[in-house]
């Protein structure tokens, strides 16, 4: 066990450590770029002009703040705690991913780099990167696993329409993890003039910290809206965890509010057997993947295991190092929700609230449906509705045996 007993918001340290997690495990070729990025980001963070430019974009381009919405019929249906939804699905491009890509594109410009690369799983981060690049006139290449290209045709079309080049990745499992490998390989050769906009709180330092910071707007808004709308902080906050960016952004501002229970929902897939799920924190071991030390789904030799989730955006065998730190310190409780439960929640939210959630977010909705009844009607639970479900309707229809 680690010596860390209480989670603090004052992480990572200068070497990128969240407790024992995080750090930098990348080839020497990338080290200088990471040091440069770390320094430039530290300067940007203190720069009022940078912050105000980002704030203006978030307000006028993304449409923030988005609502903290009281889901009355879902609350009645569950018969317990009051359920509020943080509506990241109402952001421009339909998910929380844009919060991060705008911040990183502004950094790209600050560093004087003229090209952007990104990886994408479900396509939401790819679309958000393509959008930010179109806005700033930057050439953009998005790596996407072949399997995900098949599952998320709509997002591929959207990216290409906005001028991005989508490069299908046919190595390995042909999903998010391989897309990250390929983006890193591109970056090794192009690091002098290219910035890699990583889409989650994963990868080598400073990415996990930087992406968390850009996504923390979710939690900060939720806190002030909670105080405004019901005069106190919520009793529990629930968010889904793949790589973990929407949940990190939602949880981070609450870390020191010890009375707020934080619950991370992992993709439980079809069961607990290796290959049937992508619940890294629930079933993984400590190890290294994609440049940081965190929990990883790996075999006894350290080879990364194949994963499965109904949701392309959660289909990842690793997780952000700060989540591993929160798990280890007990600050956040993590557990799996199955494909079937997520699919059921997708339909429930659609029928009761007129909202089609992304399959990723449906995992968080399923969790609140499971637990709201065990709480009193005085309690408040906030669910991070990280994205909208339009991109998933073809896959959901296919699973339900319907043809579109």
């Amino acid at each position: 066990m680690t010596s860390v007993t209480t989670a603090t918001a004052d992480v990572p340290d200068a070497t990128g450590r969240f407790g024992e997690f995080g750090r930098r495990f990348v080839p020497e070729t990338l080290m200088q770029a990471l040091e440069e990025l770390e320094q430039e980001y530290a300067r940007a963070r203190e720069d009022a002009t940078f912050q105000s430019e980002l704030d203006a974009l978030l307000k006028h381009f993304v449409g923030r703040p988005n609502p903290l919405y009281f889901a009355r019929r879902l609350t009645d249906h569950c018969g317990g705690a009051q359920i509020y939804l943080k509506r990241e699905d109402l952001n421009h491009t339909g998910a929380h991913k844009i919060n991060n890509t705008l911040g990183q594109v502004l950094l790209t410009r600050r560093m004087g780099k003229g090209r952007v690369i990104a990886e994408t799983g479900a396509g939401q981060h790819g679309v958000a990167t393509a959008t930010a690049c179109a806005l700033f006139g930057l050439p953009c290449v998005v790596y996407m696993g072949e399997e995900d290209v098949r599952r998320q045709k709509l997002n591929v079309f959207n990216m290409e329409t906005m001028g991005a080049e989508v490069r299908p990745v046919s190595s390995g499992s042909r999903t998010l993890r391989d897309a990250i490998n390929e983006a890193m390989r591109d970056w090794m050769a192009s690091v002098a003039d290219t910035h890699y906009i990583i889409g989650s709180v994963v990868g080598p330092h400073p990415f996990p910290m930087m992406v968390r910071d850009f996504q923390s707007i979710i939690g900060r808004e939720t806190k002030s809206q909670s105080l405004e709308q019901f005069g106190r902080l919520p009793d529990e906050v629930i968010a889904c965890v793949g790589g973990g960016s929407n949940s990190a952004g939602m949880f981070y501002p609450f870390i020191e509010d010890k009375n707020v229970k934080l619950t991370g929902v992992e993709p439980g897939g079809r069961g607990a057997e290796p290959g049937e799920h992508a619940s890294t924190l629930s079933y993984g071991e400590k190890g290294v993947l994609h440049g940081s030390y965190s929990y990883v789904l790996q075999d006894a030799d350290g080879q990364t295991e194949d994963v499965h989730s109904i949701s392309a955006g959660l289909d990842y065998p690793g997780v952000g190092p700060e989540h591993s730190y929160w798990k280890e310190t007990g600050r956040v409780q993590y557990g799996p929700v199955s494909d079937d439960e997520a699919l059921e929640a997708f339909g429930t939210l659609a029928r009761l609230e007129g909202i089609l959630p992304a399959l990723e977010s449906s995992h968080a909705v399923a969790q609140v449906i499971k637990t709201a009844a065990s709480r009193s009607s005085d309690d408040v639970i906030v669910v991070c509705l990280s994205g909208r479900g339009d991109k998933d309707v073809y896959e959901v229809a296919r699973l339900l045996g319907k043809e579109l």
Partner: protein
């Protein structure tokens, strides 16, 4: 008594310019006690460069790996890098990636690789090439660094290259490898700053792996001019042998490096020739490369 003797031997060797190692840091004075540093010292005394081919363990099977090691040894190569297949090799180009995938499809395990190498080493002649494990940190960490190093040493490995373990994170592994009297090879890239170079040289041991181009492994027609400048500068900073890898694929690329580098590493070209032409083709390429590296100036 014993320490005093070691110190005198070291001073003597320094005086004779045979001492390759750092003048300070954790490896001070230990280098000539490692097999790899002895190999470089001998080559240097003879005015030769080292040739170091890379092969992927288990591609397509371990019988082939054993045959390749024997063939390379018989061609007189100085060191063989043996790649441990990994599922997510971000530093590797398409040729080596594909070889890892082929090996992993056959369910190769770390223990099988150790067994295979041990079998070859036990039947090898006394004078054999040094063997270096090229291995992802994910694998080392999962097995446990101490256990991995102990098992590797027992199998006959002389050193380690962990391409995703930068000097900043390498202290613990370096201490373990040093205690085993083997070498943890450090890498240096075209993007490495002077400040980072100093940190890397502090840990450097055996030889310094100089990555010729920013990018992944794989053959390139020409080596970039900046490489020669970097090698020249490095020569002024350290006495540790310099070996050039990434992008080297043919004998003609060796000549311009003479005097600047102490060795060349060929990976993708060897792996490709193994996949296309088998053991004989690898032997032919290795013979040409070795001849070129061993040619006297």
């Amino acid at each position: 008594m014993c320490t005093a003797l070691t110190t005198r031997v070291r001073d003597f060797l320094r005086g004779r310019s045979l001492y390759n190692g750092p003048r300070s840091g954790p490896y001070e004075g230990l280098l000539l006690s490692t097999p790899i540093s002895r190999t470089f010292a001998e080559l240097k005394a003879a005015g030769k460069m080292a040739f170091m081919p890379f092969i992927t363990a288990g591609d397509p099977d371990l019988e082939t790996t054993a045959a390749l090691i024997r063939e390379l040894a018989s061609q007189g190569v100085d060191l063989i890098e043996i790649g441990f297949p990994y599922s997510d090799p971000i530093a590797d180009g398409p040729v080596i990636q594909a070889s890892y995938t082929r090996a992993l499809q056959r369910q190769i395990h770390v223990n099988d690789i150790f067994e295979c190498v041990k079998g070859v080493v036990e039947t090898a002649e006394e004078k054999r090439p040094n063997l270096v494990a090229m291995v992802a940190y994910a694998i080392v960490l999962r097995v446990g660094a101490e256990k991995f190093v102990a098992q590797a040493k027992q199998a006959g490995f002389d050193g380690f290259i962990v391409p995703d373990l930068p000097a900043d994170e390498a202290d613990e592994m370096a201490t373990i490898v040093k205690a085993a009297k083997l070498d943890l090879i450090q890498l240096i890239a075209p993007t490495t700053t002077a400040e980072r170079t100093a940190k890397i040289l502090e840990l450097a041991s055996g030889f310094l792996y100089c990555i010729s181009v920013a990018g992944t492994t794989g053959a390139r027609d020409e080596l970039p001019p900046a490489l020669y400048e970097q090698l020249e500068w490095l020569k002024s900073q350290t006495e540790i042998p310099l070996a050039v890898g990434f992008g080297v694929s043919k004998a003609e690329q060796v000549e311009p490096l003479r005097g600047l580098a102490d060795g060349v590493i060929v990976g993708s070209a060897i792996v490709r020739s193994a996949a296309e032409g088998g053991v004989a083709a690898v032997g032919e390429l290795a013979a040409a490369m070795t001849a070129s590296a061993h040619e006297l100036p």
